[in-house]
């Protein structure tokens, strides 16, 4: 222990006070950092701040105007995502271990932060009174401070001692992650934060006993967490199965599509149609595709393949103009597209089996999306969009990246293509999208886009915004990826050529993986930018996370009066954004490390 102390003293001297300028710099920095936190804490604790305006509006923040009777859809989406997450963490279970000391040092850090707060928080803070004058008040009295100081100091000491006992029990890192996630769930049941209740004359009362704020959500969260744990264990049972991992990866890609379809629409489950129409169509078309894949190498089939393809295309062409179920039309179209690529990809029996699986999954997804999307029973809300608050921000970020990333890959490849026409189109799209500010594109989506769409086709505002967002960030992704492509040495292309790889294999197995690896930091910062820029949609009347805090809550007087309390909400929003972007960038640093970028 004594040694430790000496070592840290030496470290201090070497790194912070090595010379006079460096000492000055250290002192000045500490002064400003302390000043910043004192200001922040003072601001947060002043009596004119109403933090209930944040707490009480959580639902508004998350889903805004989404109809309450349909919340189950939101919960299912969140639940499914977390169940998938649990399963994936199990499947890709880390083999690394942490010791008990590491765990305690995490707790030590949290309690140190708490101690820091109790020590640094200012006793006095300034408040604006009713006449708009700034007054000073005692917002953090000394005895309160002492009351907090003693327990937090004890915590710090306890964890410090525990940490330095060097307890060497090892825990798997993935298991630990589940344990950390359990903490907020348990807190939901223990910590009680007051909710606002109104008495008969619309005066606020704080109910007694305190009603926990999370009362409405703690049951669903707990159930979801239980499922998360369950699937984590299932996942870790199967962690050696390559097929499970592959299935999981595909499920992640498909998940947003499904969520999008059932959050947007209220699919009418009409059993007779499904049994009598959808399922036969699905089975029929699936069988045709599967049989073609299976017998593609049969000489007879090979001989008549082009004729068959021709007839198939003709039938599909005709089917577009006669009145048959839309599912049949689109399934036929998918069948044609698939049949064209079959000869190119399936020659080994393993390749065939995989292709049949891909075929089945795509057809099934198509069927579900069409059944969900074609019913008119859309969820009705009073607003421009059923998405609002965090759900809108999240939608723009996730779905925007989800569509724009593949688009960016395609545009980047297109811009490097040998075919002049492809190159021209891709360059055109990239330059056009990038040269106009995002806000202009948003106005384009809200006001002008309808002019460019064929008559009768009309998308919701959110969908239009998603479309321009996809292109806008797609163009940026494309330029980043192109940079990555240029960093691949010519020798890599030649080596791939020399072992006889096709251009498609060369791109997908050799060039793209290396290009993407080289630009992970840029990709992450693009994703972060997209996440934050989503708040610009407020300009065209969509209500995102930021708008709720700044505009909606700050002017809300019914049922509870929160007029003028936008500053605490802004602080909360900043914190919220920070948590997400910070986690993202930390994660990406880990991924970078795992890929060994730094070593090469």
């Amino acid at each position: 222990m004594n040694l430790d102390y000496k070592k840290s003293l030496a470290w201090l001297k070497e790194n912070l006070f090595s010379s006079i300028p460096s000492s000055i710099l250290t002192v000045v920095t500490i002064y400003f950092v302390l000043g910043f936190f004192r200001g922040l804490f003072g601001f947060a604790m002043a009596s004119d701040k109403d933090w209930l305006s944040v707490l009480n509006n959580m639902q508004l923040y998350m889903v805004q105007a989404y109809p309450e009777e349909d919340f189950i859809r939101v919960w299912i989406s969140v639940g499914l995502a977390l169940v998938f997450a649990g399963m994936s963490i199990g499947l890709w279970k880390s083999t690394e271990e942490s010791s008990l000391s590491d765990v305690f040092s995490k707790f030590l850090r949290v309690s140190l932060a708490f101690l820091f707060f109790t020590v640094v928080a200012p006793t006095f803070s300034s408040v604006t009174d009713n006449d708009g004058l700034i007054q000073t008040e005692e917002s953090f009295p000394m005895d309160t401070r002492l009351q907090l100081l003693i327990p937090s100091a004890i915590l710090v000491i306890v964890f410090f001692v525990l940490k330095n006992l060097n307890l060497n029990y090892k825990f798997n890192k993935s298991d630990l992650l589940c344990f950390y996630l359990a903490i907020p769930i348990v807190l939901l049941w223990i910590v009680k934060l007051p909710t606002i209740q109104l008495d008969s004359s619309n005066q606020r009362i704080i109910p007694d006993p305190l009603m926990p704020i999370a009362d409405t959500t703690k049951i669903p969260w707990t159930i979801i967490f239980g499922l998360f744990l369950g699937f984590y264990f299932i996942g870790s049972r199967f962690k050696d199965s390559k097929n499970m991992k592959r299935t999981m990866s595909i499920s992640w890609v498909l998940l947003p599509l499904f969520i999008f379809s059932w959050i947007f629409k209220k699919p009418e489950i009409d059993l007779p149609t499904i049994l009598g129409q959808d399922i036969p169509i699905f089975i029929g078309i699936f069988l045709i595709g599967a049989l073609t894949i299976t017998f593609i190498n049969n000489p007879v089939v090979e001989k008549y393949f082009s004729a068959y393809l021709g007839i198939l295309i003709a039938i599909t062409g005709i089917s577009l103009f006669i009145s048959i179920p839309i599912l049949l039309k689109s399934a036929l179209l998918l069948l044609v597209l698939f049949t064209i690529v079959i000869p190119a990809v399936s020659s080994s029996s393993k390749g065939k089996r995989n292709l049949i699986i891909v075929w089945g999954v795509s057809l099934f997804t198509l069927a579900v999306l069409i059944r969900g999307g074609s019913s008119d029973t859309q969820i009705i809300v009073q607003q421009q969009s059923i998405f609002g608050g965090f759900s809108l921000t999240w939608l723009l970020a996730i779905f925007g990246t989800y569509v724009s990333f593949p688009l960016g890959v395609l545009l980047a490849l297109g811009r490097n293509s040998k075919l002049p026409i492809v190159r021209l189109v891709c360059t055109g799209i990239i330059e056009l999208t990038r040269s106009v500010p995002y806000i202009t594109w948003l106005f384009f989506a809200s006001v002008t886009m309808a002019v460019f769409l064929p008559e009768g086709v009309n998308f919701e505002l959110v969908v239009r915004v998603l479309m321009v967002t996809a292109f806008f960030s797609g163009a940026y992704f494309a330029e980043n990826i192109r940079g990555g492509l240029q960093s691949i040495p010519k020798g890599q292309y030649e080596a791939a050529d020399a072992i006889g790889m096709s251009p498609f294999q060369k791109t997908s197995l050799i060039v793209m993986p290396q290009a993407l690896r080289a630009i992970i930091p840029t990709l992450v910062s693009s994703a972060i930018t997209a996440f934050k820029d989503s708040s610009l949609v407020t300009i065209i009347g969509l209500i995102d996370f930021l708008t709720i805090g700044k505009v909606i809550i700050g002017t809300q007087s019914i049922p509870v009066n929160f007029v003028g309390h936008d500053r605490e909400n802004l602080l909360f929003i900043a914190f919220f954004y920070w948590i997400f972007t910070f986690t993202l960038s930390r994660r990406s640093m880990k991924v970078e490390k795992r890929l060994g970028l730094g070593e090469r």
Binding site: G351, I499, G500, M501
Partner: protein, 242 residues
Amino acid sequence: MSIIKTNDVKKWFGDFQALKGISMEVQEGEVLVICGPSGSGKSTFIRCINRLEQHQEGEIIVDGIELTNDLKNIEAIRSEVGMVFQSFNLFPHLTVMQNITLAPIWVRKKSRSESEEKAMELLNRVGIPEQASKFPGQLSGGQQQRVAIARALAMEPKIMLFDEPTSALDPEMIKEVLDAMKELALSGMTMIVVTHEMGFAKEVADRVMLFDEGLMVEENTPTEFFDNPQNDRTKLFLSQIL
């Protein structure tokens, strides 16, 4: 029977003519060493044989297939012809094992287990079975080049091309690569080797050629080539290098 036959092959880079009419034949199982001063067109020539470069005049016939713009022919020839580069060109994002099994799995459509078995066999053959799960960046130059040889052999080629396989290596690593190549030559592989390792040429080659300014100026058996050179260019070249 000749497995490679070229007839008056000419190649221009813009205005500069790198190959000025090369005609030659290689028999099955033969080891041919090409040497010559820098910029004489050695690399260009052997890269034409698997169409990493495109010749503009003349014809190249590999294993009975003429090299034209027909993609099918090019792919067929590339899977018959393995190539080892001066700068290794291993795929840095894949392990040694993945580097070797990539082409058998994706191009030859073999099963993973079969390809891995074969890869281990090849790694044994080039003497580095213990490196299978490492990444190229973790290997020495000599080890990397031997992985590159194993990668090319995994396609079971009939012909192997080597473009200065040892000139990017430290002297102490050159031997291990040359040993692997000797072993390969003894096993009856048809090889074209561009190299300045004259020891290797004397010991292993069936024939030696000298390129100069886009022309083949001398072609002979190793003993004749080194002991009794005919052409003045050869004499000059040998005096500079030996």
